[in-house]
Symmetry: C2
Subunit: 342 residues, 2 copies
């Protein structure tokens, strides 16, 4: 049961402490901060009383005074994908340890919304920003603008393909090669590739790896084996229909992510195809849930979202702790993905 606002005493300030002790507020302030030039006696006295009064510094005052909010903004496409939830965990964990708060915003893959979130966060004077950009994000002007306000930005996971930014991402190139080669080794010659929406600014490492694997294995790559989905079920179905109507049907599919993989598998089953016999699927992990399926993808590329979030936060803190007169070289951390065979 709550106290009904009855005994709502005023929140204590250093001023009160000073008055009660008949000393100056600056002395109190110093005592509370273990300032070197302070008498041990006074210090103890102050700290004791402060504790008794349940004194707590007013963060908003400190924020105002210091021009820092001890808050970082985290902008993500969405929270629905377990993938991003894991990334948040990485961010939150580190922020928590450093006594920072995390302000969260979802762009829902909408550029206008992303811009608005950036504005809101800037106005809220976040100390720094972590961003995984929306699919629609072509230019990054709305982020560059933050430089004027000395708000550092670290991009992670979905990183814009432009120079001179700080970023943390997970390279999919080599794992994609591994994935495609795994399929080759299993005897597949025609591997369909369902790629995701083509954003202007995100590297298409899946495609690059797909191409390279063909090159390395001296297998002619047929453009007709590449289809595109906007990630909706309908679009994925269409892409798949296109691939399966080819004279030389693919016997395996490299799917953009687990969502696409599941839609693929579902569709294939509806068409009475035998999974892992008529068609095999390899994918990029965003759903740990695939273990519950009867026919999960035979392998997937793990992208370590938690790790990415943590590393990005680390980098951001590094930037935050850099004196503003120092020049900071742009740092781009590249993690390596791993092919997990199920």
């Amino acid at each position: 049961m709550f106290y009904l606002h009855a005994m709502s005493e005023k929140v204590p300030t250093i001023k009160e402490i000073a008055r009660k002790l008949n000393i100056s507020i600056s002395t109190v302030s110093r005592a509370l901060h273990d300032h070197p030039s302070i008498g041990l006696r006074t210090k103890m006295q102050v700290q004791k009383l402060a504790a008794e009064m349940n004194y707590e510094p007013n963060q908003t005052a400190i924020q105002f005074k210091q021009g820092k909010t001890f808050t970082i903004g985290l902008i993500l496409p969405n929270l629905m994908e377990e993938y991003f939830s894991l990334a948040i965990n990485g961010v939150e964990e580190l922020a928590f340890k450093n006594n920072y708060n995390v302000l969260i915003g979802q762009s829902h893959d909408d550029l206008e919304r992303e811009k608005k979130i950036v504005e809101t966060m800037r106005k809220h004077r976040v100390d720094g920003l972590l961003v995984s950009i929306s699919k629609q994000t072509g230019s990054i002007e709305h982020f560059e603008q933050l430089d004027k306000y000395k708000i550092p930005v670290v991009f992670f996971d979905r990183v814009p393909n432009v120079p001179d930014i700080h970023s943390v991402w997970c390279s999919l190139y080599y794992s994609t090669i591994d994935a495609v080669e795994l399929l080759f080794k299993k005897g597949h010659q025609r591997i369909g590739f369902i790629q995701g929406p083509l954003s202007l600014n995100i590297k298409n490492e899946r495609l690059d790896g797909y191409i390279e694997a063909h090159k390395r294995n001296k297998i002619t790559l047929q453009e007709s084996l590449i289809a595109t989905t906007d990630l909706s079920k309908e679009s994925t179905t269409q892409a798949l229909e296109k691939l399966l109507s080819l004279k030389n049907k693919p016997t395996a599919i490299l799917a953009f992510n687990d969502t696409v993989a599941l839609d693929t598998i579902q569709y294939a089953k509806k068409k009475k195809m035998k999974i892992n016999k008529d068609i095999s699927v390899v994918s990029y992990a965003n759903w740990p849930i695939t273990t519950y399926l009867d026919y999960p993808p035979i392998a997937s590329v793990e992208q370590f979202p938690y790790e990415q979030g943590a590393r990005a936060t680390e980098l951001l803190f590094k930037l935050l702790n850099t004196k503003s007169d120092q020049t900071i070289p742009y740092e781009n951390v590249v993690l390596k993905s791993e092919l997990i065979i199920h």
Copy 2:
């Protein structure tokens, strides 16, 4: 490419505007706020210059001055469950519209962590708090404490079972009755119930509904048909083993949630049981993903997490907009769940 901090001019303040226009800062302040007693001419002048200078009020100053942060804290068990992500969307949407920010914290179902998050948020002077409590949360002292700081709290979804709180939750009672009766109608006589961890403070409406359905249909309830899981796969498996080793095995299972349902189905399949023949499963929705399964639960109880989040936020704003001298009656919004038959 970023501007390399070169042209970092100072962020403009009303003071600058006042100086440039040779008027007082209060006039500027009023002009910017469309204060009634202000000359149209001056107002236009000020607003024009402010726009030119890209003036933006310093939020931290306003927060400090007003004693408000325009931020609400959102404490959840975790973000991993799609269920909670949906709830967040409901919160974020409304907060966004009201120009509020959302500070997020995950308790990971750990009481100590929940307490620490409450502290952090209090120190950060959030204006209000939305909470879905952890499984370990027995007493709510750490929330009651916030009353001293005039920080209103609205509990939602996982609501503590105590009087005199504001809350929004979704009643599972009637849908549970519906679910069990659906199974009865399909000819099942023995329905196992795998309940979740028994928290001291959360109502066990599933159990109540389960019992009531039996009563209404004059079917003797056997206690042996009730098992408990801590939600881990091992624990669910144990619970299921217990139920399936009964002389009178259940032919259907009411599972605590989709996770439990999936583990149940997986285990049953491993034991060569035919899903929907030897055993049927009904569950509480937390994973929209079940549509990808070959044998999803035959029905599930929808709890409208988005709606809950939105309503809780609405209620919180109502509290925030209440003058502190008014007494606020405790409000408990109860939504109704719905049985979705697949």
